[in-house]
């Protein structure tokens, strides 16, 4: 009978170990995804401390609910979704998802030809983290996670139109930041 059973993959063994509550398997799973998920949390949280809290809560949820993982999507995606949802819940609990009217002035919205190759990861992360919470959420969900505005609207409890307008605002702010950085860089090159 064993001849006809599909051999279990390492990931499957890992999942089963986690379902059984084996701590060493849970540790393995954590080690496997911790770095990627830390970045996810950093993108959503305003500070590193809050990102750590979000990641801690999210991993506890992962282990508590891994028996419900239906294998209809990659495990990484499932874990990422838990991270995102936990981050949203965390920020919602802190009332950080209210729209900020103190957003920066929107710069040139028409520029499209950007390359981010010259930016370090810290610079990019810093730009995203400097966005107001609601803009940061919408930008992360749309531009990086790939959700559409309807889905974002459902996740954040806003309308699709609001999601679109907030995204436009976030995008414009980022563009202006990038433009400013570019100008600063060019001025620095000319003066030197």
């Amino acid at each position: 009978m064993k001849l006809f059973t599909k051999p279990k993959s390492d990931e499957e063994k890992l999942i089963e170990g986690c379902i059984a509550g084996k701590r060493e398997m849970q540790r393995l799973l954590y080690d496997l995804y911790a770095k990627k998920m830390m970045m996810v949390c950093l993108r959503y949280a305003p500070t590193t401390f809050e990102a750590e809290d979000i990641m801690q809560d999210a991993f506890v949820k992962v282990f508590a609910n891994i028996a419900n993982f239906k294998r209809d999507c990659p495990l990484e995606f499932w874990i990422r979704r838990i991270m995102v949802n936990t981050a949203l819940k965390h920020l919602r609990g802190k009332q950080l998802l209210t729209v900020s009217h103190e957003a920066e002035e929107v710069g040139n919205l028409s520029a499209e030809d950007y390359s981010l190759s010259g930016y370090s990861m810290d610079e990019l992360l810093g730009m995203i983290q400097s966005l107001a919470p609601r803009y940061r959420m919408v930008f992360n969900l749309y531009a990086i996670e790939g959700y559409n505005h309807k889905e974002i609207g459902e996740m954040l409890g806003i309308s699709e139109g609001t999601s679109k307008s907030q995204y436009s605002r976030a995008r414009a702010i980022l563009q202006s930041m990038l433009t400013r950085q570019e100008n600063n860089y060019q001025e620095h090159v000319i003066s030197s």
Binding site: G21, R23, Q26, R27, Y30, A34, K35, K36, M37, M38, M39, L42, R43, E52, M55, Q56, F59, V60, F63, A64, F77, E112, D113, Y114, S115, L116, Y119, M121, L124, L125, I128, Y142, A143, I144, E145, G146, Y147, N148, H149, K150, E151, K164, R171, L174, Q175
Partner: protein, 560 residues
């Protein structure tokens, strides 16, 4: 991840996604330790929840068993027999003896007898001994006063000097050692201190522990005795000081330990208090209360003997003159039996139950409770039957009175010296059986929609016969009534099984109503001794419509 609306995506989005989606950042080194701790706490909470669940289940089963056992015991003992109380059978005693007996059998505090002894032993003067003896004789009042004084002593505890504490503890030690074999001179002390000794186990547990911790070899009994006798022996004083120091050290150590434990406990309680509250609320969500009413059809399934009679009376003048007495009676008995079989039909039966539900799983519920049922059947009859027996000694003829075909037919002894069967106008006979029900069962529920659900269930029940009444609508036949303690041909403890199914509707978050058919079959016949009956007996059953109201305990689900 849908990308249906990604038509707005431009270079900026692509660049950010390319750079950021798979980017990594190192988490802090202690993050896993924090997650590990959270997981451990969660596992412990789950374990605790399971323990609470099984404890509650065990408690529910125990309560049910006790309830059933209590009723069974009551039933088997036939209830309290009138005129046979303990007071009635016990010989009367003089009032003074009774008082003495009451005093001696007063359940004193565990330390009280020893305290009384110690009071006697510690009383230095004959007057004090006498006082202590008087205190013992007036036991109840003395103990009551001791308790009152003890309450006052609790207030005084903080003000009690260390020397006083040690002295009391030392006195106890002396007393204990004297009980072990050595004779110790009584130590003079005031009456308040005697009361203090009486309550010392309660108040000065730490001092007692401290004394117990001192090695006995260190204690010089002679020194202690002489110290106790003189009250100020220098050698004994030295020993006392050493002992005092040891005791005080030990007392301090014990108190420190207790303080640390208390501090640790309060911290733990503070940190886990919130989670405990959540768990408790989820545990209370498991319980529900329900009431059910079931009008039903009841088939008593009682068989009537087809046996022919032996003797019939020729004295009764109700028989036609052209028939012999035997033939006429036999003929009417047959007609009466036939009439009973053809005209017995269910009466209005009902049961009422109050149940507690305990959720074993998401959809599975354990139900237990208490109920009452009244099962009725009725028949139409046109015959009045009277049996007669001749008393061998007096030759007198006795009869239980006119009745219907029912009771003589289910009688375990059909023999009779003579019988009279008279035909009258048709009348109705009602048979009514009242049971106390102790049901236990399982119910499984499934969803039918947002508010509707279906259920199916089954269980068993102990049915304790509280009374049987056979009533006729004619004055010619006497009503028969068997109470719970009476001898009767009917089974007093009847077990039944039931199955039910139906639909329910949630009226609110906590309240729901159910309705559905229920079949209840009894495991035994109505008659207590069916093997001795003249005809085969069937098992009764009911078919009814169960209508229930259920209330889920616990907090409102909206607030979750």
């Amino acid at each position: 991840m849908s990308s249906a609306a990604n038509n707005m995506r431009g270079k900026l989005e692509e660049e950010f996604q390319r750079h950021m989606y798979d980017a990594e950042a190192s988490p802090p080194a202690d993050l896993w330790a924090r997650i590990d701790h959270d997981l451990t706490v969660q596992e412990n909470a789950l374990y605790k929840k399971r323990v609470v669940f099984y404890r509650q289940l065990a408690a529910a089963c125990l309560a049910l068993l006790l309830l059933a056992g209590g009723f069974a015991a009551f039933y088997l003992s036939g209830g309290p027999a009138p005129g046979h109380t303990i007071a009635a059978v016990q010989p009367e005693k003089p009032a003074s003896d009774a008082v003495v007996e009451r005093q001696e059998t007063v359940p004193a505090e565990p330390a009280a007898p020893r305290n009384e002894t110690s009071a006697l032993a510690l009383a230095a003067t004959p007057e004090e001994r006498k006082q202590a003896t008087v205190q013992r004789a007036g036991s109840t009042e003395g103990l009551g006063e001791a308790k009152r004084n003890a309450a006052a002593l609790v207030q005084e505890r903080k003000a009690t000097s260390t020397a006083g504490l040690v002295r009391m503890a030392l006195a106890q030690e002396i007393e204990a050692r004297s009980e072990e074999g050595g004779s110790v001179e009584p130590l003079a002390r005031g009456p308040k201190v005697e009361i203090g000794v009486a309550m010392s186990n309660l108040l000065y547990g730490s001092a007692r522990q401290a004394i117990a911790a001192v090695p006995k070899d260190d204690f010089n009994k002679d020194k202690a005795s002489s110290f106790a006798a003189s009250g100020a022996n220098p050698a004994g004083e030295k020993g006392f000081l050493e002992l005092n120091k040891q005791v005080m050290d030990r007392v301090k150590a014990v108190e420190k330990d207790q303080e640390e434990m208390l501090l640790a406990f309060s911290k733990e309680a503070e940190t886990t208090g919130k989670k405990d509250g959540q768990e408790n609320s989820s545990e209370s969500d498991r319980w529900s209360l329900g009431m059910a009413y079931m009008p039903s059809f009841f088939d008593q399934n009682v068989g009537i003997s087809g046996q022919r009679m032996g003797i019939a009376s020729s004295r009764m003048g109700l028989m036609p003159s052209d028939f012999s007495a035997v033939t006429a009676s036999e003929s009417r008995m047959d007609e009466a039996r036939k009439e009973f079989s053809e005209n017995t039909e269910p009466g209005f039966s009902f049961s009422f139950e109050v149940k507690t539900g305990f959720k074993l799983a998401n959809k599975l519920k354990l139900l237990a409770g208490l109920g009452f049922s009244q099962n009725s059947a009725r028949s139409r009859s046109s015959y009045v039957i009277e049996q007669f027996w001749d008393q061998p000694e007096s030759g007198e003829r006795v009869s239980p009175g006119p009745t219907t075909i029912f009771l003589p037919s289910i009688s375990t002894n059909f023999a009779t010296d003579s019988i009279n069967v008279a035909k009258t106008d048709a009348f109705t006979v009602n048979y009514r059986y009242r049971h106390l029900i102790v049901p236990v069962g399982l119910q499984y529920e499934g969803k039918l929609g947002k508010e509707w659900f279906w259920y199916t269930g089954g269980g068993v029940a102990a049915n304790i016969l509280m009374g049987t009444t056979i009533m006729a609508s004619t004055a010619d036949v006497k009503d028969v009534n068997y109470d719970v303690g009476d001898e009767s041909p009917f089974r007093k403890l009847q077990w039944s099984g039931n199955v039910s199914a139906g639909v329910g509707k949630r009226l609110s978050n906590n309240m729901s109503v159910t309705v559905g058919p229920e079949f209840r079959g009894y495991f035994d016949t109505l008659l207590a001794n069916p093997e001795q009956a003249q005809a085969p007996q069937g098992r009764p059953y009911t078919v009814g419509l169960n209508m229930g109201v259920n209330y889920d305990l616990g907090k409102d689900k909206n607030s979750k």
